[in-house]
Assembly symmetry: C2
Homo-oligomer: 331 residues x 2
DNA sequence: GTGAAAGCGCTAACAA
DNA sequence: TTGTTAGCGCTTTCAC
């Protein structure tokens, strides 16, 4: 048990108010009493009680981070940046994983609200009008990334544009047969709603838009879990060299592995492109062509927006961070 | 702003105490008043104020997790497990990254203590007697993993044994020339002390012990940052097929990549073994032989110990979790 | 420049 | 079964 300001006050023969002024660099105190009090605080190893402070100031100096999980490299890198950015401002981050589960996500958010976090950075698995209403009812600044919910602040790359450009890049590499791979993300009882615009959806739309506005392409989509089986079959059946554009590097990796097992060589037999530029790609041969979204920039930007909201400033609802096509050896 | 128990009390014409009994399932209240109060709470969207509750109960229901970073897969997986295990018990986890920096680690711990976390799970970068004294002065249950500090509760695999067995496995695969790779981990002004027993040290000792107690081995160690250069040179200079045993998969991956660039084939030209069984290994060809430490088990166990300490139970100082040699294709 | 006092919202011990 | 009261430790306003 550490000493309290009350006890310090008694020891120094001053009031609690004066101790507060001394210990928190507040004005209206002579430097001599200030130093005297600080000396006593040091001597007795005074440790400020942030819970009490939070209660009385109405600020917890903590922010909540809600993610699907930390196993996904993208999320863990994001958390890393967020933790650092937060601490630079004296905030600590509660990190909670929802496992894409509806109930968990709700409970986590409720709990964070009960803990009176000053802001929340959310990667939502849930969608729909009710959910948005719920989020607003928390009366806590929220910034999302990953999936966009109308009316909630959002930071991400322009997925539509990035996907469009990716396909253009694939086309530029000579492919006329293109397959977009985008298996379902959702696992457990997540709400379905039409209101939602997920990253994956936007990427799909970007791809579609390229195909619809350009002639001469043979286009297919694989939206199932067993995309790897299907992809292998597609390569085997022949009919022109095909490029697989995956909505995430995770699928590109999976596909590359599978292709290798099946004796399909990339890019000799098929082209491959991913999305996100996960840092494990550095260890993979051949180097997978991908889109770099700079998790770092994204995390920083998200925190910047969140802090502005916490400070009560007005911020545009959607904020884009830059991306870049990263040519590798798989096209 | 959510309604408070005080306001609910007024609305229901009861005392704050009664509201507390109703809302927190405490005994000594008639079910009719309880339900009446609960109904009002629901109606007004009452949200418990965990900060006030913490202050009054002296428990914050939160635990601190201090790691080097979340970029390392091992740490992020560990955090994932910890977050989940914590939440199962109603605890939330503050996750803070120290970046292996002495100052940061100290500040983080001070701050966590100020936030009155109920327990800390720490991956210490600092060592030495003073540091241990400091940790104890926090008067908060602490469990370490990764590096062991004498006198502080610790959960990990038996690194000594695991390294010993790994070398035995390499030997069993026919190698008589073995090189142990263990570059320095520490980056920024971390204290040096002799008191410390890090995982890496223990692994080195285990290796050493095998070599010292068995005849007929040509043994070398690479402890520098430029181990990859040196390793390439060693393979090139010839003199019997050599196996590289890396103190972490991270180095094994780096080496494999480098070997590939240099036209050295594994295991044809040299053997390779890692440590930790990071899950990215699944995407790497050839499959790297490694030691599996089950991050999951380790995280669960660490939390189990931490919760026991929080509950005031006595727990043995060191707790080992199982490990397993995972034969791959690189030996 | 300093002190006194009233909170922040919840909990817990004791009375009634 | 319910109410009263005194905190938890810090902040802040207002008076001196």
């Amino acid at each position: 048990m550490s000493i309290t300001t009350k006890e310090i006050a008694k020891i120094c023969n001053v009031s609690r108010g004066t101790v507060d002024r001394a210990l928190n660099g507040r004005a209206g105190i002579s430097s001599v009493t200030r130093e005297r009090i600080q000396a006593v605080a040091r001597e007795y190893h005074y440790r400020p009680h942030l819970i009490a402070s939070s209660l009385s100031r109405g600020k917890s100096m903590s922010i909540g981070v809600v993610l699907f999980d930390l196993k996904n490299r993208y999320f863990s890198q994001l958390s890393n940046t967020i933790s650092l950015a937060a601490r630079e401002k004296g905030y600590f981050t509660y990190i909670a994983v929802s496992e894409k589960d509806y109930e968990s996500e709700m409970h986590i958010l409720q709990n964070l609200a009960s803990r009176r976090v000053d802001g929340i950075l959310l990667l939502p698995a849930i969608q729909g009008r009710d959910y948005i209403r719920f989020l607003k009812s928390l009366e806590i600044p929220i910034v999302t990334t990953g999936n966009h919910l109308p009316g909630i602040h959002h930071v991400s790359i322009n997925d539509f544009d990035a996907a469009f450009e990716s396909v253009a890049h694939i086309s530029h590499c000579g492919y006329r047969r293109i397959c977009f791979i985008c298996p379902p993300l959702r696992k457990k009882g997540a709400l379905k709603g039409k209101l939602n615009i997920t990253s994956q959806d936007l990427r799909a739309r970007g791809v579609r838009y390229f195909i619809d506005t350009n002639r001469g392409y043979q286009f297919e989509m694989l939206l199932q879990k067993d995309y790897a089986d299907k992809a292998v079959a597609m390569v085997r059946q022949g009919g022109g060299k095909i490029a697989f554009f995956c909505s995430s590097d995770v699928y590109a990796l999976e596909l590359l592995k599978r292709f290798r097992e099946e004796g399909i060589s990339v890019p000799r037999d098929a082209g491959l492109m991913g999305f996100d530029n996960l840092d494990i790609l550095a260890y993979i041969t051949p180097r997978i062509t991908t889109v770099s979204t700079s998790v770092e920039t994204q995390g920083r930007k998200a925190m910047e927006v969140l802090f502005k909201l916490i400070a009560g400033e007005t911020v545009p609802n959607v904020c884009y961070v830059p991306y870049e096509i990263c040519p590798g050896e798989t096209l």
